[in-house]
Subunit: 652 residues, 2 copies
């Protein structure tokens, strides 16, 4: 490296700034509107610049790269080794042992036949293995998306009275969810899921966990007449109005298995190396409880069981998709909501583990993978699937190296579907309930909530809104409320941008917020403000009022102290990254207002776009003349104070 | 003033910075959560600090100030003089001569009985004179609010078949419009109208002018079977499908008066001193045309006339207000839309003339005044009123000094209502149509549209959307589309904040955008980025990807040039005015990512709130330690390059 570039800065500064005096603010190099539009579009839709790797490559290489881009399996497949496979087979079998009981349970949560949960653990993982770029994602049905799908569809169609229509709607919703997810990725609109902030998600997931657990009271207590509503109040009232239906055998069995599952979960949390304890526990519970029921003929003593399940692989279901008719609106809406929720979970999980293992996951590409997986799933009797957090964590802990672990899981599920289905006939529903409760308890993240409280009170309020909205109103509305509040906060930030009054840090030409740096001092005759946001129609009026108030405060305060009226209003625009027509008018209005006080408006360091627009609007060079435009606050103050001294001495 | 404060900066800098070296970044002075909340609320809802004037006053004086605050008439009333009254009476009579024909015309535009237009020009101006703080606003019905009120209500209730219900709904809508306006002011939510940007309004008003003019083809051509729709296409098709209904007498008369009115308008625009030419023309047209019709019995030759009008002042209408029933939704919606549109017009007009005459208009106070005026109006047979732009301009040009000109206008209208109503019996509708067309033509502001095109292409697109939306879809939807696009732009700005790569301007310690200042140079080993927006959940992911790309680009570019890998990533946070929990995680993620490249993350100048949150989240002082936090980029580079030199020499 060149040694003189950095260490000659300090002396140079002192030597050169004195003779040169003031540096000019120059307009940025000219670019045509088309060029600007192009770069703006690139920044908006291709911030990660996916085409960078294609640069300076031969045509053949470009084709290979493109194929690898769309099918990541081509990237890691050729390098795949037996050593990797050994790791993948262990992790694949581990997540299969979790996926089978969870698949059955989550399908019941979505009011779907249990077997659909297994179908959904067979085809989608295979599709993801080809298209997905995460190495840790364990694909399958997840609790929250199942809950939402079930609750939204049951509002209009009963799964008991009209099971076939319900199934058709579920597959159609899955199709639209996938279509929506893939489109988001394809149109590079992935940033839409960023609007679900971490705070929103933590509140939402905790609320959903409560709702899901409450639903399990049906199977845990053995109630047969259970409310179809989801809220805390109707469920609890339903539970306590049906005390006569509570079955002690079911409660006892549920309690035992719940304690067992929670204990294994506790062990695995304490010692992550024992991940297999909690990973295997659900399957063990299913097997154990099935044997118990079979041995004691418990199904005749008030314990409800799954019942006969059909053997065989996924039947095709493309003929069951609804693209028109009266339920289209419902299906599209359900698809949209479940699509975005499951996408958020999948992307978040992928990014988390990618960060842990230090590889990249391309959000938009992942969306296409998850979307296609659901579209194909909807044609093969699967409902909405994504990367589940808990199962992916197990996958990661079990040492998964590539998406082959998904393939192993998928094959295991296939074997189950083909040969082991009769074994589930006597599996009691109460154990499935206990499995769900244990799985969703992990969604309640109290430490994260505490951290949010510590860092940002407003985020905490958003979190609470999401939580209480989900628990007391409904899953979708709770989420909508939290998102609306988050967006409202952003809009409020834009409408009420910060302005800071700057003072000089003695002995330097640095200017910083007077209310932050106590040693910063005002310079008499100067009011130096920094505007900390893009200026646009939504805040131009506010900024005018606020700056007016700064001027009034300056005059009243200063009057008392030292009788120095305002000579210059310096606006530091370094932080104003954009401006629109209303913003341009703001400066014209401010100039007028300042001039009636006998003062001058000076602008410091407008960035490229802002300067361009000001120059274009200001033909007369009123606000962008050489005397009113400086590169730094220090230079502006130095240059202007000499003028001012001349004036004030002639006054006296 | 102290002469040494400003001129010793330059030498001091050189003398002191060398020994002192680096300035510390200190956390801002401690404030409790409650204090912060209080100041945040103040900045959000009381940016203009209306309580400032109450400070350091005696209790009695405070009461007087409070009374003057709510009733501005108490402020200017006592100082009122005969000289002011002379000016006000001239302007009052001038706007009355405009208000009477316009009142009748606009009421017809809203599908209301013509007399309601006169009622609305009587009571509201009196209320405004007591409560309003603008000296130039001429209060009365306006074209756009009339159009929207009429079009929204006719969608559900026919004014022909059910005139009484229609009237009730109009008054109820007015009540809700007033209530909404007053609440906005009272709750200090006035910034909501700022979301109608100038570009949106210009497009919207031009579109509305076209729609209003098209509606006048009914009276201008004498068509009896006219469509009830508003859009360009249905109206034109209705016009050309009813050619047989065109009446040449009506067309001739309409053409003559339209030419006359447009000519007078042209004269007044050319020479603003001749404002009375265009101000008097509508009344002259009405009188002239009425006499013509009466003399030639033209009502029997295909020219439709207003017909008999009832004499007398406003009858009470509070018993006609609907607060429940099936139409409540419609009424509330209509009230909301007309309320916000008329409020926007009223506030904009008030601010424009206040700026011209250099006095202050308090937006929130004005909203309460306009709101109360409409609430009282709705109980006295008036429909939505506000400050009309054209009439206020005439008022201003005619020399209005205070709101007394509104009182004069109101008294003139009262006299008309009491004694002159029979005279309007033979006034032809075609003249009213010509008056409306002449009035709304002024809403099409082509020069402003050109200016917008010049300054900001995106704003121009928003303007076009508003215009075409109004013309082709509907008035409300056109407006909604334009507002949605404007807000989308803001959200896009937030989601895709700018990042700039900074370089050193040789011979200084100033760092500026490399792509803007061509003489700025990179410093080997340093990647210096400036983030130009608050960091929050909506952009944290983007920023991470984008900064990652800056790093990748740096490495690929630099590698070729001089083989200097990245040692420090310096983030200039001066422009980051706020941060949330996602933003805090961003820095932790970035630190991790940078460290894998063997580099360090350095933060420069985080502002108060940002620094506080970072400190609170970063117990380990990983990202906010003394070596990773600097006050300026220059100091960071100077301090770090010495460390780096030590390292690199030991490497070599």
């Amino acid at each position: 490296m060149e040694p003189n570039a950095s260490n000659n800065m300090q002396p140079d500064h002192c030597l050169e700034i004195a003779p040169m005096g003031v540096h000019k603010v120059v307009p940025p190099p000219h670019r045509s509107t088309l060029q600007k539009l192009k770069s703006r579009l690139k920044e908006t839709f291709f911030p990660d610049d996916p085409l960078l790797q294609f640069k300076r490559q031969t045509l053949g290489k470009k084709w290979i790269l493109a194929a690898q881009y769309f099918f990541p399996i081509l990237q890691w497949g050729p390098k795949y080794s037996f050593k990797l496979f050994k790791s993948d087979i262990v992790s694949g079998l581990t997540i299969a042992s979790l996926a089978i009981p969870q698949g059955i349970s989550y399908a019941k949560l979505a009011s779907l036949p249990p077997i659909v949960g297994l179908y959904s653990s067979f085809v989608p993982p295979l599709v993801y293995a080809v298209l997905g770029s995460s190495r840790d994602l364990a694909v399958g049905p997840v609790s929250i998306a199942s809950l939402i799908l079930g609750s939204m569809l049951t509002q209009e169609v009963s799964p008991v009275n009209n099971p076939l229509l319900f199934l058709q709607l579920a597959f159609s919703s899955t199709f639209f969810a996938g279509l929506f997810q893939a489109s988001l990725g394809f149109l590079r609109l992935g940033f839409i899921i960023d609007f679900l902030s971490k705070a929103t998600l933590i509140g939402f997931m905790a609320g959903a966990a409560i709702i899901v657990s409450l639903q399990q009271l049906k199977s845990l207590l053995g109630i047969t007449h259970f409310t179809k509503k989801m809220g805390l109040v109707p469920v609890l009232s339903s539970v306590f109005h049906n005390i006569n239906e509570w079955s002690w055998q079911t409660i006892l069995m549920g309690f035992c298995f719940l304690v067992f599952l929670l204990l294994t979960r506790h062990v695995s949390i304490r010692n992550p190396k024992l991940f297999w304890v909690s990973a295997g526990a659900p399957l063990v519970s299913v097997i154990l409880s099935t044997i118990l029921v079979f041995a004691f003929k418990a199904q005749n003593h008030g314990i409800s069981v799954i019942g006969k399940l059909q053997e065989g692989l996924n039947p095709p279901s493309w003929n069951m998709l609804h693209f028109h008719g009266s339920n289209l609106g419902l299906v599209v809406k359900t698809g949209l909501v479940t699509g975005i929720i499951s996408l958020t979970e999948g992307i978040a999980v992928g990014r988390t583990f990618a960060a842990l293992k230090n590889y990249q996951v391309d959000g938009n590409k992942e969306m296409m993978a998850i979307g296609l997986m659901n579209v194909i799933g909807s044609a093969t009797s699967c409902y909405v699937t994504t990367g589940a957090f808990s199962r992916s964590a197990v996958n990661h802990n079990a040492g998964a190296k590539t998406a082959v672990s998904n393939v192993v899981m998928s094959v295991t599920v296939m074997v189950t579907l083909l040969f082991l289905m009769p074994l589930f006939q006597y599996t009691p529903n109460v154990v499935l309930g206990a499995i769900i409760v244990t799985a969703v308890i992990g969604l309640i993240d109290l430490p994260a909530a505490c951290q949010i409280w510590k860092i940002d009170k407003f985020d905490f309020v958003v979190m609470l809104c999401a939580f209480f909205g989900v628990v007391f109103i409904s899953v979708q509305n709770g989420l909508a409320i939290a998102v609306a509040i988050s967006i409202f906060k952003i809009l409020l930030q834009v409408t009420r941008p910060k302005t800071m009054i700057l003072g000089n840090i003695p002995g330097t030409d640095i200017f910083r917020n007077l209310h932050h740096y106590k040693d910063a001092t005002r310079i008499p005759g100067f009011l130096i403000l920094s505007i900390e946001a893009p200026i646009n129609f939504a805040n131009a009026t506010y900024l005018k009022e606020r700056i007016q108030r700064w001027i009034n405060e300056y005059e009243t305060e200063e009057d008392i102290k030292q009788q120095s009226s305002i000579h210059f209003l310096i606006l530091d625009l370094s932080a104003v990254s954009a401006i629109d027509t209303s913003g341009v008018s703001l400066f014209k209005d401010l100039k007028k207002a300042v001039e009636t006080k006998g003062a001058e408006l000076v602008l410091v360091n407008p960035v490229g776009e802002v300067l361009e627009k000001l120059l274009r609007a200001d033909d007369a060079r009123d606000i962008t003349g050489p005397d009113t435009l400086y590169l730094t606050v220090g230079e502006a103050v130095a240059a202007l104070s000499s003028t001012m001294k001349g004036q004030s001495s002639s006054h006296v």
